[in-house]
Symmetry: C2
C-alpha cells in the first residue's frame, strides 16, 4: 500500500554529528526542539500520496527498531484508511458543491433571456454560498473589435499614438466597462460600477487585465508576498476589506473570446484557494462563459425585433393613403372641408358617390368598366348601404383612408390585384343584401364580413401557397399552413392596429374581438385547401333548413348557433372568391384569362427559378386546354358552392345560372378544341396508314415487317 | 457509532422450538441451512444505516457469549470504516457523474441555438456513457394548446366526439410527435421516429403517457412483474432487446410544462435503477427541460427574422419605382422602347432631360421652381454629367428606377423631404465639378459621393436623433449613435442589394466594397454631432495645402492619403447638408422657415407625446427669435465650413458669400425684433417708473421704501 518507509534513525542518532542530507532543521530551529531520529511513511491513495505519518525521537532508545518499523507499518494501514476516508469525503463534498453550483447556475441562466450583466449577477448571487470566499468581483470586457472610421482618423493621420496597451488573445483592447462587486462578509453588499476607473481597487492590481490578456487561471496564495498587490497598503475600501488571497479566472464564451474576468477573494477558512476551489470556480466560469450564448441571442433577438418594427412602420407609412389621396375621394363631391359635415354629406349623396350606371346590388356587377379609383368609392358605398357607418360611428375620413389603404395594399399583379379584392367584397355585400343571407347575421357580423372580404387577398404576390413552400419564402417559413391567407389576415389586422385607418375604432373591446375572430374565419376560409373540409357541414345545414316552412325557424336554426353561422360565412367567402366564374360570359371569358395568365407566370417562375415542370394548369404550353380545365374546375369545385347556395336561398340562383351558362360556353370551346385535336389525330392516323399502305405497296404487301430483301 | 447490537442467541438456541418472532426462516428454507443463532449489528453513517453485519451459528457453543459480543463490537468499528469508505466513494462517483453530465450537457446546449430535437439528441448522445444503461428513448410532446377554429367545428356541432384521452397537467392532449431511440448495447444505434404509432414499443406500455400525464418520475424495478409491461411477450424489436427495468422521467420546461419524457432502460450492471440513478437522470432531465428556453428562443428568433424579411420585402415592393413611373421619366424624351438605345438617347439629349433654365452647376441653384418629378430627372442628369453612367455601365433604366426609388424613399414631411435630399446631391455635384474638388477623387469616388448625397436623409421622419432617443423608438434601440444617419445608410444599402435598382451592379467586388465604405463615410458624416470632431483635422489639411504653389502638390498631398480624402469628403457632406444657408436670400428665407416649421412640429410632439418643454429652437412660441438663432447657427456652425472651403478652393467662395449675405439679412431681422423687444421693455420700465412715481407721490415722496408711517 505504501511505497517505502524512510528510516532516518542511524545517520542522526549516530552521534557522528553528520546530519542526514535529507533532513532539514528548519522546524527545529524555529521550535528549539531537537530531532534525533524519524520514522516516516506516506499515506497513499493508489499512486497519489494523501499525506505522511512521522514518528520522531524513539523513547527509551537511540533509534527505532525493526519491531518499531513493523508496528508502525501496521498502524499506517489504518491511518491510510482514515486518511482515504477523509480525502474521499472531501472530494465528495467538492463534487457535490460543483454539481450544486452547476445546477443553480443553470436554474438562473434558463429563467429568462437577459443581458450579460444581469445573467452573471443572478447566477453568482445564487451560488454565492458554495463559493466559500469573502468577496468576488466580475469585470465585464468591452467586446467591440472595430472602431468607428472617424475614431481611427487621428491615429491614421499620425496625430494620435496608436493603442499599445494590453489586448485579449482575439485582439480587442482590454477595457472593463463594468464591475459587479459582491462583498459576502458580515452584511452582504453588492455594487455595480459602470465604467470603473483604472485605479479601482478591483482592477489596479493588474491581475484582471493579466487574466484577460492571457486567459490563464491565476491563484495567488499569498497576496502580501506578491508584486501585483504592493498597491495594497491598507484596506481596499471603506468596508475595511483586505485582500489575503485571490483566485482569478477568465470567462470565455464558446467562440473562445474572453468576455470577462471573475475574481474571488479570501477563502472563508483563511487558507489559500486550493486545486478543488479552482475546479469548482472553473466549472462555474466555464458555464457562465458558455451561457453568454443566451445573452448574445437576447441581443440578436431584440435587434431583429427592432428591425422588424422599423420595417413594419415603413410599410404602414408607404401604404397608408396620404391626405391628398383621401381628399381625392372626399373633396370631389362636396365643398365643405369639415369632416363631420363630410360624413353627413357622403351619406346624403351616397348614390352619387359611386359612378353612375353601377349597381353594386347585382351579382352580375362587373368591375371592368370602372376605374380603380372609382372602385374605392364603390367599396366605401357598400358600408354606407349596410348602414354600419352610422351605427358603428366610423368617421368618413377613416373609412376612406382605410379603403384607399386596402387598395394600396394590393399589388399591381395580373389577377390577385385590387380589382379581385374589390369583387370579393362586393359579392359579399350582394350575398348579404341581394342574397338575403344577412338575416342570420348581426350588423357587426355583416360589417366585419364585408371588410374581411375586401382585405382577403391583400398583398398577394401572384403565386400560390405551394409556390411559397417550394421556394421556401419567408412567408412559408413563418406559416405552416394557409400561408398566404395568414399573411392577408395579418395585414388586415395591422390596419386595425393603426388608429388613423381603423374603421373599428369606435367599437367596444368585446365587439372588436368579435370582428377579429370573424376576420380569422373569413380570410382563412379562402384557402381552397380547406374547402373540402366544410362542404359536408354546409350541405347538412342546407338540408336541415330546406324543409322548414317558416323563415323564422331557419333564422333561429342558424343564428342561434355560432358554428353554423361561421360555416355559412366561410362558404360565402368561397362563393365570393370564386364568383368570377358566375359572371356574364363576356366578363368571365376575360377574367378567366387573367387568372390563367397569373398561373402561367407562376409556371414560368417554376421553370426558371425552381427548375421544375409546372402542372398543366400553370403551363402556358398547355393554354389550349384552358376551356377543358375550366369545365373540370366548375364540375369539381364551383358547382357545389352555387348549387347549394341556390338551394339555401333562391335569391342566389342568378349566380348558379351564370355558372351554368359559362359551363356551356367553356364546353363549347373545349369541344371545338377537342374536335381540332381529334381532326389532327385522325389526319395523323390517316397519314400513317397511307404511309403504311405505300410502304406495303413498295415492300410488296408485307407491310415492311422484314428488313430482309424478299426476292420475287 | 452503531445503535444496538441485536443478540438473537437465546430465543433460538434455547432448543425450546419457539422461534424468535423477529426471525424469518425464508433463507433457511431456500438454502436448507439451519440458522441457530445470530449476532447482528448495523453499520451506521451518522443516523443513516449503511448495512448490517451478521455472525451466524456460534461454533463450539450454543450461543454467542458476552466476549463474542465485545469482539464483534470491535470489528464492527472497523467494518463501519470500510463500509463508510465504500459508501462515500460510491457517492463521490455519483456526484462526479452528475457534475460531468451537467457540464457536458451545458457544453452541447450552449454550442449553438437549435431545435428541441437536435438539442436533446446532442446532449443525450454526449453524456450517454455516464448514464450506465442499455438504451434510452425520448418522446417529444406536441406543445399545441389550441386547435384551428375549423377543426373544432365538427366537435362543436356534435358530429365528432370530443377528445377524452390523457392530457398533460397544463391541459394539452398527449401526443408524442417524435421519438429519439438510442440503443447503447453492442453496436450503437440511433433512430428518430417521427409521428410514431401508438403501438410503438417505446409508447405501448403507456408509461411515457403516464409520466406525461402526472409529471412523476417512475422507476420500474422489475418489469416482468409489472402490469404496464405485460405487452412484452418477446423482444421489443429486431435487435432482440428485452426490457428488464425502466426509469422514466418527465422533461419539464421553466414554464412548468412537460415538453417530453425521457426513459432509460436496463441498468448496465443488470440491477434495477437506484436512488442515485434517479438523482443523476433527474439532474439531466431538469437541465434539458430548462434548456428548452434556448429552443423556444431559436424558434422566436427565426419567426421574428422571417417577419422582418417579409416586411422588408414589402417596403421594397411598395417603394420601388413601378415600370409606369420609370416610363414617365424615360418615354417622354424619345419613342424607342429599346433600352440600349434609351441609354444612348438620354446621353445625347441630356441637356433636354432636365428642365430648361436649370443650371445644376450653380451653387445658387434653387429647387423651388422645379417640380418633384423634374428633380428626379435633374438627379439622373448629374450622373450623366459626371460621366459615370457610361464608365460604370449603369443601365439607364436602372439609374432611373434607382433615382425614382430614392425619391419615393423620402417621406412627404416639412423639410427633410425629397427636395432636401435632391439639394444635397446637387450641391455635392457642384462641389466636385464647379468647386473643382473632383481632382482629388477617382470617378468611382465621385459616383459614390453623389449617390450617397442623394440618399443621405432617405426615410427621415422629421424628428431628430435626440427625439428618437427620448421616445425610445425602435431606431434608437437599434442604433447607439448617429441613429437616423445609420438608418439612412441602411436604406441606401438595401437599394444596392436590390438588383433591379442597383446602380452599382456592374462594378467588381472591390469597387463595390469601396462604394459601400464611401457611403458609410458620407452618410454618417451628416450627423452634426460628429462635425466638431473633424473640424480641426479639416483645417489642418487646408492649412497644409494653402501655401502649396503647385496644384499637383496639393493633389498628391490629398489623393495619396485615403484619410485626408475621407476627411474632406465628410466635410463636403456637411457643406452640402447645410447649403441652404448659402442660397440667395429669397431661397434661404423660405427654406429656413421650412426647417423651423419641422423643428416646431417636433417641439409640439415633445410637448404632447413626451410631455416635455422643447428647447427654444423647437418652441413655436419662440418663433420670433428665429433670426437671432439663425445668426448664432451661422456663427458657431456654418461659417467655419464655408470659410475653410473658400480658403481651400476659391471656386467655392460663392457659397461663403451667400452665407455672409444671409447673415446680414438675419441680423437685420434680429435687430428689428430686438428693437421691438427693447421698445416694449423700455415702455414697461417707463410705466413701472411712472407707477412708482405715482406711488411715491401718494406715499409722500419717500418712494415707499418704508412701510412704517413717518410722522412729519
Amino acid at each position: 500500500m505504501f511505497q517505502k518507509i524512510v528510516d532516518a534513525t542511524e545517520p542522526m542518532a549516530d552521534e557522528k554529528e553528520a546530519i542526514n542530507p535529507r533532513f532539514s532543521d528548519f522546524v527545529d530551529k524555529q521550535t528549539g526542539y531537537t530531532t534525533k531520529n524519524i520514522l516516516a511513511a506516506p499515506l497513499m491513495n493508489g499512486k497519489d500520496p494523501l499525506g505522511v505519518v512521522m514518528a520522531i525521537n524513539k523513547v527509551g532508545g537511540n533509534e527505532f527498531s525493526k519491531a518499531d518499523e513493523d508496528l508502525f507499518t501496521k498502524y499506517i494501514t489504518f491511518a491510510t484508511v482514515i486518511a482515504l476516508q477523509h480525502y474521499t469525503s472531501y472530494m465528495y463534498n467538492v463534487e457535490s458543491r460543483r454539481s450544486q453550483v452547476l445546477q443553480w447556475t443553470a436554474s438562473k441562466v434558463f429563467e429568462e433571456l437577459t443581458d450579460i450583466e444581469r445573467q452573471f449577477h443572478k447566477a453568482l448571487y445564487t451560488v454565492r454560498t458554495y463559493l466559500l470566499c469573502e468577496r468576488y468581483s466580475v469585470g465585464l470586457l468591452d467586446m467591440t473589435k472595430e472602431k468607428e472610421f472617424y475614431d481611427e482618423w487621428p491615429v491614421k493621420l499620425g496625430d494620435v499614438e496608436p493603442y499599445k496597451g494590453p489586448k485579449t488573445p482575439d485582439g480587442r483592447e482590454i477595457n472593463f466597462y463594468k464591475i459587479i462587486d459582491y462583498l459576502l462578509e458580515s452584511k452582504e453588499e453588492i455594487k455595480v460600477i459602470p465604467t470603473p476607473p483604472v485605479d479601482h481597487w478591483a482592477l489596479v492590481s493588474g491581475l484582471p487585465t493579466y487574466v484577460a490578456e492571457n486567459g490563464f487561471i491565476c491563484n495567488m496564495m499569498n497576496v502580501a508576498a506578491d508584486d501585483y498587490f504592493t498597491f495594497q497598503k491598507e484596506a481596499v475600501d471603506e468596508s475595511g476589506f483586505v485582500i489575503k488571497n485571490v483566485l482569478s479566472l477568465p470567462i470565455v464564451n464558446k467562440k473562445e473570446e474572453i468576455v470577462g474576468v471573475a475574481t474571488f477573494f479570501n477563502r472563508k477558512d483563511g487558507k489559500p484557494f486550493d486545486e478543488q476551489d479552482e475546479q469548482i470556480t472553473e466549472a462555474l466560469t466555464q458555464f457562465l462563459g458558455w451561457s453568454v450564448l443566451n445573452c448574445d441571442t437576447y441581443d440578436k433577438l431584440n435587434r431583429t425585433e427592432w428591425r422588424r418594427e422599423i420595417a413594419a412602420e415603413m410599410v404602414i407609412y408607404q401604404t397608408k393613403a396620404t391626405p391628398a389621396e383621401v381628399q381625392q375621394i372626399l373633396v370631389r363631391h362636396h365643398t365643405s372641408s369639415c369632416f363631420k359635415e363630410t360624413a353627413v354629406f357622403i351619406m346624403l349623396t351616397k348614390h352619387f358617390l359611386s359612378p353612375k350606371d353601377v349597381d353594386l346590388l347585382l351579382f352580375s356587377f362587373s368591375d371592368l368598366p370602372v376605374s380603380e379609383l372609382d372602385l374605392i368609392k364603390c367599396g366605401i358605398r357598400c358600408f354606407f348601404e349596410l348602414g354600419v357607418v352610422e351605427k358603428f360611428k366610423v368617421p368618413a375620413e377613416v373609412l376612406t383612408k382605410w379603403m384607399y389603404t386596402v387598395r394600396k395594399g394590393y399589388r399591381d399583379i395580373t389577377y390577385h390585384n385590387w380589382r379581385h379584392g374589390f369583387n370579393v367584397g362586393q359579392t359579399m355585400f350582394c350575398l348579404l343584401q341581394t342574397g338575403r343571407l344577412r338575416k342570420y347575421y348581426s350588423d357587426l357580423d355583416a360589417f366585419a364580413m364585408v371588410a374581411a372580404a375586401f382585405c382577403h387577398d391583400i398583398d398577394h404576390r401572384g403565386t400560390n401557397n405551394l409556390y411559397q413552400t417550394k421556394s421556401t419564402s419567408p412567408l412559408a417559413k413563418l406559416h405552416g399552413s394557409s400561408i398566404l391567407e395568414r399573411h392577408h389576415l395579418d395585414y388586415s389586422k395591422t390596419l386595425m392596429a393603426e388608429e388613423s385607418v381603423n374603421i373599428f375604432q369606435s367599437l367596444q373591446k368585446r365587439q372588436f374581438e368579435t370582428v377579429q375572430h370573424l376576420h380569422d374565419v373569413c380570410i382563412i376560409a379562402t384557402d381552397l385547401a380547406l374547402y373540402f373540409k366544410k362542404r359536408t357541414m354546409f350541405q347538412k345545414i342546407v338540408d336541415a333548413t330546406e324543409p322548414m316552412a317558416d323563415e323564422k325557424e331557419a333564422i333561429a336554426y342558424v343564428s342561434n348557433n355560432p358554428i353554423r353561422k361561421e360555416i355559412i360565412m366561410a362558404m360565402m367567402m368561397t362563393g365570393c372568391d370564386l364568383s368570377a366564374i358566375t359572371k356574364p360570359w363576356e366578363v368571365q371569358s376575360k377574367v378567366a384569362l387573367m387568372v390563367a395568365a397569373e398561373f402561367w407566370e407562376q409556371g414560368d417562375l417554376e421553370r426558371t427559378v425552381l427548375d421544375q415542370q409546372p402542372i398543366p394548369m400553370m403551363d402556358r404550353n398547355k393554354s389550349d386546354e384552358l376551356p377543358k380545365m375550366q369545365c373540370g374546375f366548375i364540375d369539381f369545385v364551383c358547382s357545389f358552392v352555387y348549387k347549394e347556395f341556390s338551394r339555401f336561398h333562391k335569391e342566389i340562383t342568378p349566380m348558379f345560372d351564370g355558372l351554368n351558362n359559362n359551363r356551356v360556353h367553356w364546353k363549347e370551346l373545349a369541344d371545338i378544341y377537342q374536335a381540332k385535336v381529334d381532326a389532327i389525330e385522325n389526319e395523323r392516323k390517316r397519314l400513317e396508314e397511307e404511309q403504311a399502305k405505300k410502304a406495303t405497296g413498295e415492300d410488296g404487301g408485307e407491310g415492311g415487317k422484314s428488313k430482309t430483301c424478299t426476292i420475287f
